[in-house]
């Protein structure tokens, strides 16, 4: 850990920290009624009179409440009017977009409950509404922000229709799928949806979260948020493993997958283990024509926040080297409590070309932002 006794920096950040692409920004609504203009009367009434039926059992609370007010919000990101952090575009500009001259911010709207909705038709309606809401409230007034298509994975027809509806609309950059679903994402039942994402030019982003109703670890329910937070890595590992072992990338060679907010230091070790088993157990998955690590290198991107903080800061460089600096993309996670500041996230100096790739060029190429 560093000994730092510097003063609070109130001036504008240094030039070298400006102009990045932020691969994880969270927009919020003020009240659920904000979605009403984008719902049909049939679903507006459903929302008001019945509401969400989440698979997790708790309608209005998180299974693991977080320490910061607002269920895990950055303490200084509350708008003066008392609305939730992320709901006020002006404040988002002041604290993120303008402060750092952000080129693009990729929105990850963890709102609306579409993904975990038991009533899949209501889920589909909410997914569409959230997509419209992202544009109306964020991307239209602030073109630097790019929307993520929300879908309901358990309703194939509507999910594919929603992906096709947004195809070619440059306000949308990717399709967002929560890593905790009913079944691992490589399973055949999801294949057509994934194929539709690739066919329509969308990478898929697996932003940590989702409420499947399953225990959040493979070994049962943990006690603390402290345990829950790293358990998201298990969900990510499950999905990486599933997508590779089910042969998804043989089926859909142009599918691109972004792992958001799940860390990345674990990825090389997982790839080593999968390669080792592939040499021994390949008869079980004969359609895999290459080592698992090769699929991972080709098809996966990772975002940085919450950044790994190794005891020896220089170990970060070796970790990125293993993954490939062309596959790592910077993210803040604004306005969440565990967000990263681009000035201080990396505790080690990155080589110039890596910094350019990680802060800008990788995301620009992946999302075709030019």
């Amino acid at each position: 850990m560093n000994v730092t006794l510097r003063e609070h920096q109130i001036e504008r950040p240094a030039q070298s920290h400006l102009g990045f692409i932020d691969c994880d920004v969270h927009p919020y609504y003020r009240t659920l009624a904000d979605f009403d203009p984008f719902l049909s009367e049939r679903w507006r009434e459903h929302r008001r009179s019945i509401g969400n039926r989440s698979r997790q059992g708790l309608a209005r609370a998180s299974l693991y409440p977080r320490m910061s007010p607002g269920n895990g919000m950055r303490g200084d990101a509350w708008p003066k009017n008392g609305s939730p952090p992320g709901s006020d575009l002006d404040l988002m500009r002041e604290q993120l977009l303008d402060l750092f001259d952000v080129q693009c911010g990729m929105l990850a709207p963890l709102v609306g409950g579409a993904a975990a909705e038991r009533n899949v038709e209501f889920g589909a309606a909410m997914a569409t509404a959230v997509n419209e809401w992202q544009c109306a409230w964020f991307c239209d007034p602030e073109p630097r922000l790019k929307a993520s298509v929300q879908i309901t994975l358990e309703h194939e027809e509507s999910a594919i229709a929603e992906v096709e509806r947004r195809a070619g609309d440059r306000r949308f950059a990717q399709v967002n799928i929560p890593p905790r679903g009913l079944e691992p994402l490589g399973r055949h039942r999801y294949r057509k949806i994934l194929a539709a994402c690739a066919a329509n030019g969308f990478p898929i982003s697996l932003h940590l979260g989702g409420t499947s109703g399953h225990a959040s670890t493979g070994g049962g329910w943990p006690s603390f948020y402290h345990e829950e937070h790293p358990s998201y890595v298990q969900s990510m590992q499950t999905l990486v493993t599933s997508l590779v072992c089910e042969g998804v990338f043989e089926d859909i060679p142009d599918l691109k997958v972004v792992l958001v907010e799940g860390g990345f230091a674990w990825l090389p070790a997982l790839a080593w283990r999968l390669d080792k088993h592939w040499r021994r157990l390949r008869a079980e998955v004969p359609y895999l024509r290459r080592a698992p690590s090769e699929y991972i290198r080709e098809h996966f991107w990772v975002t940085t926040q919450p950044i790994e903080e190794p005891e020896r800061p220089e170990d970060m460089l070796r970790t990125i080297e293993w993954i490939g600096p062309e596959r790592v993309m910077f993210s803040t996670d604004y306005p969440h409590w565990d967000q990263d500041d681009p000035r201080y996230a990396f505790k080690v100096k990155l080589p110039e070309d890596w910094a350019r790739m990680i802060f800008r060029d990788n995301a620009r190429a992946l999302y075709r932002l030019d």
């Binding site: 850990m1 006794l5 510097r6 320490m67 200084d76 409590w337 500041d341 996230a345």
Partner: protein, 137 residues
């Protein structure tokens, strides 16, 4: 070294704080039961405005299942990543020897004495019958 009058004593009640800017530095001045302490408004972890964080106690557990609240209301929790710091010393809870917040000396002095100067009063006007909080930079 320069000394700055930042508040009248009654202005910062026990458990309260005041954020001041002295020579371009944002500094939080805290009152812990009548004693005053000053910390720079910048978390050593990622630079957040630390002095806007919630004030908490130090929760100790000598063994799992046994809890006690110590140092009531004397720890400051960063509004970003929840790192906790000792308001008295600036020491971090997670790494007290190596990660610290910059602290400044604070004294309480009678207005009668301060009126003689030379002190930088900033925006505080001094009355001889009151006591004032003075931060040394």
């Amino acid at each position: 070294m320069s000394r700055h009058i930042v508040a009248a004593v009654g202005e910062i009640p026990p458990g309260g704080r005041k954020l001041v800017t002295i020579r371009g530095r944002e500094i939080g001045v805290f009152n812990l039961n009548g004693e005053f302490f000053a910390l720079v408004n910048r978390c050593p972890h990622q630079g957040a405005a630390l002095c806007q964080g919630v004030i908490v106690s130090r929760l100790e557990a000598p063994t799992p299942g046994e809890y006690r609240l110590a140092r009531r209301g004397e720890m400051l929790r960063c509004p970003w990543h929840c790192w906790e710091f000792d308001i008295r010393t600036g020491q971090s809870w997670c790494d007290p020897n190596d990660v610290k917040v910059r602290t400044y000396d604070v004294t309480v002095e009678p207005g009668e004495q301060l009126a003689k100067g030379p002190f930088a009063a900033e925006t505080v006007s001094v009355a001889v019958e009151q006591d004032y909080v003075v931060v040394t930079l």
